[in-house]
Amino acid sequence: LARRAVARDRLAWGEIFEAHYQAVYGFVRYRLRGADEAEDIAAQTFEVAYSRADRFDYRGVPIEAWLIGIARNLVRDYVKKAVRRGPTEELVDTITPPTPDESPHVDLREDITAAMKALTEDQQTVLSLRFLLDRSVEDTAKLMERSEDAVKNLQRRALAAMQRALAEMHYEHGGAG
């Protein structure tokens, strides 16, 4: 499949899209304001990958790792450009957690998403890969080009940061606790 992808075989790219779109979408979703932005960045990821297909080394990096790397850069560019545009409402929503909801019916998803944005990029990445995309420590290590020990350490620190962020939003314990 990777060889056909390098040759820009459209059937092969159809298979790649079907196999990896959800993972790419999930990976970028936490860092963006909403579904529209996530869909846009996810779609762009495949467009960039297709455009650069001849540069892909299919003997070295798994396709998913390559796509995740592209997605990470696209999100990074998106946020940078948003920063350059100034403190628009969209930017504020993208990179900072919202004001805590004082109502008793807190939308858990929004709080988790907001807490995610308080983490570092590496912390977001490891949580996305491990617990959103259900990748093993071994696979996550390959995707992030880290050692397995480094991933274990990073995931703990990421969860601890998540716990603190949630606590700051009036949770006594992280998550559903």
Binding site: L11, W13, Y25, A35, Q44, Y50, R85, L108, R109, G175
Partner: protein, 433 residues
């Protein structure tokens, strides 16, 4: 210490149980971490559902992109030295540069009776050709780019004058390196824009294909409206515009002698050009005015070159029947390997003609002479209604069932669905007694 708690957490994540060897202090820390993890996982379920919902439109966009990429590679060949400032588009001996074609076309131009219209100026030609709601393909040079509230807009200097082009998130922007962001478009690049005309003649771009750097025309040419001609007029297509009701089209051509003309033409001829290629610009065409055609309205047909000679054959004056989209592929219009029976095969692009059998949401089934084809309609599909009694509301409802239809788009070989780019609805076929 951190190594130990890292390992304990990893064990807990694998087994779902906090290891017994954890101390009370470690257990408390792990419980907090696992609670945070559960929050992430719960959110992940919602994100998966969201991804599933967005997948069809993202897939459609990607399929459109890959097809446009193929088209872009064709467009981005270096311009030949002897040709105009735009793209070189005449491979295989179809070029205007051939002396025979030039001489023949120039003679025709001399013989043509051109009546300057009351809107003969450059600006008004733009307004006349780029009518609101029309699907257009136009080319030029980017002279300015602005961004306001995240909206990227371009000013494109075309032969019709300055054209405002708005780029949306769904717009595919391509250069010779592939996809780029709308905000990265630089002034001074050649560009081909396809999209739908909005308010104030602004083009809402679907695809923007960038070519080489080029200077804008120092003096925009005068573009005359063609109102009458005694014979035929040949030239290269520079702009097309298809009205939303599918009844009329407008076309802007440049002749070998350098004359610029725009004309109102019968829509089926332009639709046929689109069916030949996703990008109709650069095609050599002739305009004719056969008996029975309303005054000031012309019929456009492609000039098909001879296989081994530069001169374009002069076809007989078409009869009204030949001005309709052909029921099947014409040998002169169809690349080798084309299908038959109402389906025209092209690399990456397929045109299907048949009858609408049913519609289920975005999926329309069309019965051709040979098989039943599933057509996927997206938000960016351009839907045109034919001239014979189809009303606009048929575009969105079940009233389209039973109507003739021509669909040009991309075939998803995996799903075997045709992703519609342009749909032309025709009348219900008349059945025999």
């Amino acid at each position: 210490m951190s190594d130990r708690i890292d390992d304990l957490l990893d064990q807990a994540l694998v087994t779902g149980v906090i290891p017994e060897e954890a101390t009370a202090e470690e257990r408390a820390e792990l419980e907090g971490l696992l609670a945070a993890m559960r929050g992430v996982k719960e959110t992940g379920l919602a994100i998966r559902a969201e991804a599933q919902e967005t997948m069809p439109s993202a897939r459609a966009r990607f399929e459109r992109f890959t097809a446009a990429q193929q088209q872009a590679r064709h467009l981005q060949r270096p311009a030949s030295g002897g040709r105009g400032r735009w793209f070189s588009r005449f491979p295989g001996g179809r070029g205007l540069s051939f002396a025979g074609v030039a001489a023949a076309a120039a003679a025709i131009v001399v013989g043509a009776l051109i009546l300057p219209g009351s809107f003969g100026g450059v600006e008004s030609a733009s307004a006349q050709v780029l009518t609101e709601g029309s699907y257009v393909q136009v080319e030029g040079v980017v002279t300015n780019r602005t961004t306001a509230d995240g909206q990227v807009s371009l000013v494109v200097q075309s032969d019709l004058g300055e054209i405002a082009v708005d780029l949306a998130d769904g717009t595919s922007v391509l250069d010779d390196q592939g996809a780029i962001r709308p905000g990265d478009v630089q002034s001074g690049r050649q560009v081909v824009v396809s999209g739908v005309v909005g308010k104030a003649h602004r083009v809402q771009a679907q695809t923007v294909t960038l070519g080489q750097e080029a200077p804008p025309p120092p003096v925009p040419p005068r573009v005359e409206q063609l109102k009458d001609l005694p014979q035929r007029l040949e030239g290269e297509v520079r702009t097309i515009s298809l009205s939303p009701d599918g009844k009329r089209a407008r076309i802007h051509i440049v002749t070998a002698a350098g004359g610029h003309f725009w004309a109102v033409v019968e829509a089926p001829g332009v639709q046929a050009l689109l069916e030949r290629s996703a990008n109709a610009l650069g095609t050599m065409v002739r305009l004719v005015h056969p008996p029975g055609t309303p005054p000031g309205v012309f019929i456009v047909e492609p000039v098909v070159p001879e296989a081994d000679g530069p001169s374009a054959p002069v076809a007989p004056t078409p009869t009204p029947e030949t001005t309709r989209p052909p029921a099947g592929p014409s040998p002169s219009l169809t690349p080798s390997g084309a299908g038959s029976g109402g389906e025209t095969a092209r690399p990456g692009l397929v045109t299907v003609r048949g009858i609408v059998l049913s519609r289920d949401g975005a999926l329309v089934t069309v019965e051709t002479d040979r098989r039943v084809v599933t057509v996927r309609v997206t938000q960016r599909t351009v839907i045109l209604v034919g001239p014979d009694g189809v009303t606009l509301d048929a575009r969105s409802g079940d009233r389209a069932i039973g109507h003739a239809v021509s669909v040009t788009g991309l075939l998803n070989e995996q799903t075997q669905q045709l992703l519609a780019d342009v749909i032309v609805l025709g009348p219900k076929p008349v059945t025999g007694d």
